[in-house]
């Protein structure tokens, strides 16, 4: 039984629709899920604002406003109803959190426009997109503006002067690796990097909150981070450093767990995580970019239909082929 609004009449009418069983009702809705994710993202967002000050606030606001405005305009063009379900806010927020704090605001806006208009709506909107919109927007910016996308400033809060330096990932590992000091800084987030990727601890807290609330499944992040750590260890790298630095935490908890672009099946989630972990380490160590999480998840997004196909659970009672 469902209630439907009749838009043709001025008065809102409720129609009864008869459908077959089971008639399950749940307090879950797209909106509720989205707002819980936004709530969890507030932790790393707060850390980003604390460490990078006004830069962070402006980049986040620009990115979110551009994403929501694009969503509204595209829905208008497609003659589809605009629903404020929070998915555009998440896309804008996630995109902002993966950007360097110094990025010119118009570039952040272009990233949001690309993420919503091309990566999401051109494929049919929420639920139909193949690639994670925020990551597609980030990849677009990375390819378009390589210079501005790799300026990393040391965190200085709201202080006016900022010091530019290399991202921890692009520094030589020998120089800073295996140093307990650096682990602490990486955990807290007091280190140069993207807006919301620096504080591993708060990202972990947000991720665990979502797992406890059953918004996301634990399998993907565990497989993703586990595969990254294991492969780093096998290849003779500092596994703790590899796990805590870069965009791995935000990617594993908030991007690789996207409902739309990653597998639905339990086995599929583990396969997705392991694949993304292997690709991340491969790109970090042997690729042309210091960070591989973004491209790793996008590549695994492309493999998602294949993973789902081979990990379909067999219905009870049906024999093996």
């Amino acid at each position: 039984m469902a209630k439907i609004k009749n838009d043709n009449s001025n008065k809102t009418e409720e129609k009864l629709i008869i459908s077959s069983a089971p008639h399950l009702r749940s307090k879950w809705s797209v909106k509720r899920t989205m707002y819980l994710v936004i709530l969890a993202l507030m932790l790393p967002t707060a850390a980003g604002i604390y460490f990078f000050g006004f830069n962070a606030i402006f980049v986040i606001l620009t990115s979110v406003i551009a994403a929501v405005a694009t969503e509204y305009l595209v829905k208008l063009l497609r003659k589809k109803p605009f629903v404020m379900d929070g998915s555009a806010v998440i896309t804008g927020l996630l995109l902002a959190l993966t950007l360097p704090p110094t990025i010119p605001l118009w570039m952040a806006a272009i990233g949001s426009v690309f993420a919503i208009a091309i990566a999401k709506e051109a494929f049919g909107g929420l639920g139909h997109n193949i690639f994670n919109p925020a990551l597609a927007g980030r990849a677009f910016l990375q390819l378009s503006f390589p210079a501005q996308m790799s300026v990393w400033i040391a965190p200085s809060g709201f202080a006016p002067d900022a010091v530019t330096s290399a991202s921890p990932l692009s520094d030589a590992f020998e120089k800073i690796g295996s140093n307990p000091e650096i682990y602490r800084e990486l955990l807290i987030g007091n280190i140069n990097g993207s807006l919301g990727e620096t504080s591993a601890l708060l990202l972990l807290a947000g991720g665990i909150l979502l797992i406890i609330l059953r918004v996301i499944d634990w399998r993907t992040p565990v497989a993703f981070i586990g595969a990254t750590a294991l492969l780093s260890l096998v290849l003779g790298q500092d596994a703790v450093y590899q796990v805590l630095s870069g965009g791995l935490m935000i990617g594993a908890f908030f991007m690789a767990t996207d409902y739309v672009t990653t597998p639905m099946t339990r086995t599929g989630k583990i396969v997705f995580g392991i694949g993304a972990g292997i690709l991340t380490v491969t790109i970090r160590l042997y690729g042309g970019y210091p960070e591989g999480v973004c491209f790793a998840i996008l590549l695994m997004n492309a493999a998602t239909p294949l993973i789902e196909r081979y990990t379909q659970p067999r219905p009870y009672g049906l024999g093996k082929k």
């Binding site: 063009l77 118009w106 570039m107 091309i118 051109a122 390819l143 378009s144 503006f145 390589p146």
Partner: protein, 204 residues
């Protein structure tokens, strides 16, 4: 000459080789990063398709059916060689910018397609009109795509060394994705979507 104008017009909008038939995408996507290269490619394409359509239509009763494709390729390749030498002699800058894609016109699916589907079955005047229409349609499509790609990917428009105009912010920070092959797909897809939206291209 209603037949002539009908055959001429169809190549421009109704069956535009790029936006509707979606043929010959390899050169379209590869050479449209600047307006110069797109114009050079359009010129070469027009010369080859007009000449080969004309010859093939003239010889259509002489060509044995079983070997028609090799014969078409030989005729087309002849004109491609001529055009290549002309470009190398008179506009060497464009010749080197176009690189392999000029020679690849010899196996271009659009030119071969028009030879097989049209010129070998229709009279000379219609074949000529078909080639002219396809050339105009191809040229317009390439100019449109390359205009947006150069504007966004380079931040301004430069035609044969003359700077027409530059955009204020983009000139320093061009969106370089539009200069890459990904940008070619993006611009072409968005243009097709736009033409469908305003009703120029109809769903088949």
């Amino acid at each position: 000459m209603s037949g002539f104008s009908k055959e001429f017009k169809k190549g421009i909008v109704i069956s535009n080789p790029v936006f509707v038939l979606a043929l010959s995408l390899c050169p379209v996507l590869a050479v449209t990063d600047t307006l110069d290269k797109a114009l050079g490619m359009s010129g070469a394409f027009a010369l080859v398709i007009i000449a080969s359509n004309l010859i093939i239509s003239l010889m259509r009763k002489m060509i044995p059916d079983v070997v028609r494709i090799p014969v078409f390729v030989i005729i087309i390749a002849t004109f491609v060689s001529i055009v290549e030498m002309l470009f190398q002699a008179y506009i060497p800058a464009i010749y080197s910018a176009l690189g392999i894609y000029l020679s690849l016109l010899a196996v271009n699916c659009l030119i071969l397609g028009r030879a097989e589907a049209f010129a070998s079955r229709n009279k000379v005047s219609d074949s000529l009109a078909d080639a002219l229409g396809m050339s105009v349609g191809f040229c317009l499509a390439l100019i449109l795509i390359s205009f947006f790609r150069e504007l966004l990917g380079k931040g301004g428009i430069t035609v044969f060394g003359n700077e027409l105009f530059t955009l204020p912010v983009l000139a320093e920070n061009p969106i370089s994705v539009f200069g890459m092959s990904m940008g070619a797909f993006l611009v072409m897809g968005l243009l097709i979507a736009f033409f469908k939206q305003i009703g120029v291209i109809k769903d088949v």
